[in-house]
């Protein structure tokens, strides 16, 4: 029987929190890349491209993330891919994030006055140049607050990957709890660690929002 002191618990939880941070970053970067593709489809001139992107977004926003992770975990091996919890977790969260980010950024594109596109066209820019030089920089800038807000949601969502067996903060805490029988302390500490990660970002998002409404 191994004895866990309070500091052993803290140390092990903090070590596991590295994986939570890493997974959050991977999913945010991956989600941004895939989200850009979805955004392009969502605002494309082709009606079917727009419908496809809307369907993609509705699917991911209308089903539980836990189900998406399960489908990733059990579905990818059928395509002949060897799958580990890390791959399923990172891919699942990437697709989840891409749908939300695409929708957030689209709201930014929609919020721009039509004149921005017209002005770009009258300067002789073609569609992609208009997007790259005029529309997207402004759309990203006005949606910075909800984007940071979604990052907070994404960090919290990594907790679900413990259920498909990824060794992050929550899964480690379950193991420690089973060894120490101190759920009050262990889960309290886990909540505290998540809070320390998320609260500064929440405050930052709030500041961005205030700045945006003050302007």
């Amino acid at each position: 029987m191994i004895e866990f002191t309070f500091w052993d618990i803290v140390r092990n939880l903090l070590l596991a929190a590295r994986w939570t941070v890493l997974l959050s970053l991977a999913a945010f970067v991956g989600g941004s890349v895939v989200g850009m593709v979805v955004l392009f489809l969502r605002i494309a001139k082709n009606k079917w491209a727009r419908r496809l992107a809307s369907g993609y977004i509705a699917l991911f926003q209308g089903t539980p993330l836990l189900m998406q992770l399960f489908l990733m975990f059990f579905g990818l091996p059928m395509l002949g891919l060897r799958i580990e919890p890390w791959t399923a977790a990172a891919l699942g969260l990437t697709f989840f994030a891409s749908a939300y980010l695409a929708e957030i950024w689209r709201s930014g594109v929609d919020a721009l006055p039509r004149g921005q596109w017209d002005a770009g066209a009258s300067l002789g820019l073609h569609y992609l140049q208009e997007l790259r030089l005029i529309v997207l920089p402004q759309a990203f800038s006005i949606t910075r607050a909800p984007t940071v807000g979604f990052l907070v949601q994404l960090i919290k969502s990594t907790a679900l990957t413990s259920i498909i067996g990824f060794e992050e903060l929550v899964r480690t805490s379950n193991a420690i709890n089973n060894a120490t029988f101190e759920p009050f302390t262990v889960y309290g500490l886990v909540a505290l660690i998540f809070f320390v990660m998320c609260f500064p970002l929440t405050q930052y998002a709030r500041r961005l929002e205030h700045r945006a409404t003050a302007r």
Partner: protein
């Protein structure tokens, strides 16, 4: 690829899926009522209560919004018994969902209360309404109308998040899916079917809330 999809098990599983879906609906129905009620009290307390109460509500909102629902659930179900509060899985799930949702809806309801012009309160007071009547009959209905779309979204999000309570063995839709796939060895097909059930539930719930909101709060609710 050597794998072929098989949905043959589905005929014998509809009962379990329906039972699970019914429990999920029960969970979200209780959470919606309790959570909305709690958030109205919370939002009112945060505006008009004593300073200590305002602070406490503020801390509560921040703590719940910045920690994962799964951890809150584990804390309530596994953590609280060690200080003598022991709850049934389903009660623990309802409590966790209600407390989680209220943290988000307190802010939403609060924004709605702020959106009602002060003149409405003043006019009602001038007509001889008592302060509580002013809040319940004049301010709150107008606030709810403004925030209805945001409230609807939050309820749907909470319904999707309720999949997590399968982890403390509440026999809802995800729990039934876990049981089914353990029996049929058709994990992908099982979770696929159940995911589609969730999609139908979330679309149906949204539609139901919007039409119900129109009826209760009058036209103009979207």
């Amino acid at each position: 690829m050597g794998y072929s999809l098989d949905f043959g098990w589905l005929a014998g599983a509809t009962g379990a899926i329906a039972r699970g879906a019914a429990t999920t609906i029960l969970l979200i129905a209780v959470t919606t009522l309790a959570g909305t009620f709690l958030s109205i009290l919370g939002a009112a307390g945060r505006r008009n209560g004593p300073l200590l109460l305002k602070r406490a509500i503020g801390v509560y909102v921040e703590v719940m919004r910045n920690t994962p629902f799964l951890v809150q659930l584990f804390f309530i179900f596994f953590g609280l018994p060690s200080i003598g509060i022991r709850l049934d899985p389903i009660l623990a799930a309802m409590l966790a969902m209600t407390l989680n949702m209220a943290a988000y809806t307190i802010e939403i309801v609060g924004a709605g209360l702020d959106a009602v012009p002060r003149g409405q309160t003043e006019a009602a007071l001038a007509l001889g309404f008592r302060p509580r009547q002013v809040f319940v009959k004049i301010v709150l209905p107008q606030a709810l109308k403004v925030i209805f779309p945001a409230l609807t979204s939050q309820i749907v999000i909470m319904m999707l998040e309720s999949a997590v309570v399968s982890q403390i063995a509440v026999r809802e839709l995800t729990y039934e899916a876990d049981m089914l796939q353990a029996r049929t060895f058709r994990a992908f097909e099982t979770y696929f079917v159940v995911t589609m059930v969730y999609l139908v539930l979330s679309m149906g719930l949204r539609r139901l809330l919007v039409s119900g909101g129109r009826r209760a709060l009058g036209a103009g609710v979207s």
